[in-house]
Assembly symmetry: C2
Homo-oligomer: 327 residues x 2
């Protein structure tokens, strides 16, 4: 199924993707070569362009025919890239998409400022829409994400993170931006309140599913697929749903052992395999998969209000892809 969904999406979005890549290059327009280098290192390292695609097809599904959706869509990729640059500096992560994280190549200060530059680019493009509501949503996203990241930092290494708090963290970290991209597509198209709410709903649940699937892949994917060793979140002290659920089901001895692995920065393949088995047997893996699937179902339900269209099909396929992808 996976390859199938992916193939179906790629067949449909390739022309958009070509245009998105061009627009990302054109709109970046830094004055300094160094800013271009740092920004490009991350921006053109094989991102999926999920957020621009969602914005583009949300707008088209809502009847937008203004011809600027591709150009405007770049704001969500710039915003995403800005937060990744700041997050990598904050987390001290060494790898991103299988490449060295920017701050391992350039001093952290320059990376932080390049993140600011990308935020400014996103804001500039939001302003170019001439739509104050789009700009408000972008501002809200930025605020939520920065607070979310601080919240996650504060929770690092805490073994008592509840499922509810985890949900709040991934909402801010991922769902808010994906929701915003979908909602802004509807706003740009001047759609009704009902349609805008439906797309916001779609984006929210899709974002939650994407992050849960990401957190699952951090345990189930191979180093080759991830571009880094699995279990990276855990070694950074980040508790995610597979582990949270399993800790709740574990006997004290196992719980203690799992807790010890949290925030231990060394990767031991043998120990990691043993942990994966525990997560399987305690149900953390299947529970997370089911929760993600539930979010996908909700996301697709939110689309029911829209008539059949090519863009609706693409959004539906992306929702399926969220949980079936291997990277």
């Amino acid at each position: 199924m996976t390859a199938d969904v992916k193939t179906q999406i790629i067949e449909r979005v390739t022309p958009d993707l070509v245009q998105v890549e061009q627009a990302l290059e054109q709109n970046l327009a830094p004055r300094l070569e160094l800013v271009k280098q740092i920004a490009s290192h991350l921006l053109f390292s094989g991102g999926k362009r999920l957020r621009p695609l969602l914005f583009i097809h949300a707008a088209r599904m809502c009847g937008y025919r203004g011809g600027q959706e591709v150009m405007f869509s770049t704001m969500f990729e710039y915003l995403h890239a800005a937060t990744l640059l700041h997050d990598d500096v904050v987390d001290g992560a060494d790898l991103r998409r299988g490449r060295d994280a920017a701050h391992t190549r350039w001093p952290a200060a320059r990376v932080v400022l390049t993140g600011d530059f990308l935020l400014a680019r996103a804001l500039d493009i939001a302003a170019r829409t001439g739509n104050p509501r789009v700009i408000s949503v972008v501002a809200d996203i930025t605020g939520e994400m920065s607070e979310g990241e601080i919240d996650q930092l504060e929770k690092k290494g805490r073994t008592d993170l509840t499922e509810a708090r985890y949900m709040k963290i991934i909402e801010r970290k991922t769902a808010v931006l994906i929701q915003g991209a979908c909602r802004c597509g509807a706003i740009l198209a001047g759609s009704s309140t009902r349609e805008e709410a439906a797309l916001a709903d779609f984006g929210f649940h899709l974002g939650m599913a994407f992050q849960m699937a990401d957190d699952l892949l951090d345990y189930t994917a191979t180093a080759d697929q991830l571009g880094k060793n699995p279990g990276a979140d855990m070694r950074e002290g980040k508790l995610t749903l597979p582990l949270i659920h399993s800790l709740g089901k574990a006997v004290p001895r196992d719980r203690e052992w799992m807790t010890r692995m949290l925030a231990d920065s060394t990767f031991d393949p043998g120990q990691f395999s043993k942990l994966k088995e525990k997560l399987e047997s305690l149900g953390g893996i299947s529970y997370t998969r089911n929760m993600a699937q539930r979010e996908v179902t909700r996301a697709k339900q939110a689309l029911e209000t829209f008539d059949t269209s090519g863009s609706k099909t693409i959004l539906t396929l992306i929702a399926d892809y969220a949980v079936h992808r291997k990277v």
Copy 2:
């Protein structure tokens, strides 16, 4: 004269300042206590609120009567505070306005993210104006400032910085934001292109004067007045106009000696006094003062197009204050 100008300004703007302080507290509205603490540490540490005041009186001078100029003015203080937080982390400066810089109290990552939060607040308020041109200007400012800071970082420790490059650096670092605050006041008021250009011109020259005066004070003010030892720029490797000009006039031996002091992080009061004498005798001090005064004159000329009003008087007084202040 100084005390006189300052007194005259304070008499006129105290009611505005009270409202600006309230608005800064009300609009901050963070969800997390930690964000509030970090943001407040800098925001409420005795800033002059120069940028909000300029915006408010630019808008009023252009006939704005919408009643929201104080609320909107906070975006420029948030933006200013965001860049100060990031710059302090980037520069590794220990003191800011005589207090510990935020990153000496909290981990740098949290300070960076709080900067992002403040940027988002500025953006949110820009969006609330409902005026896409205001938002565009705010976006441009953010981009220019981040690139300017990277440029300055790249130039750190370079003893061959020309006066022209210095002017470009302070333009981005300071003038662009002050110019933006003045221009946005005109835009908010729906003023003519000519009036908007005049206020942009005023803000630009005022900003240049302010930064030159700042760079002068770094050499001429006392530790008490500055809240930190003088010569901090030099010790951070930043070449500013008093030194640039003096280096150009110095004999090789003196030039070598002054160059050695650049980027030497130790503060030696005796050596520093000697350097100040050199800057005096080589004309770097008076040259910088004259250049700043020239910018003030140009700023005031830009205001000539406006009829006499209370706000025009305040803007004129602020221009005088730029070069006559002691801190």
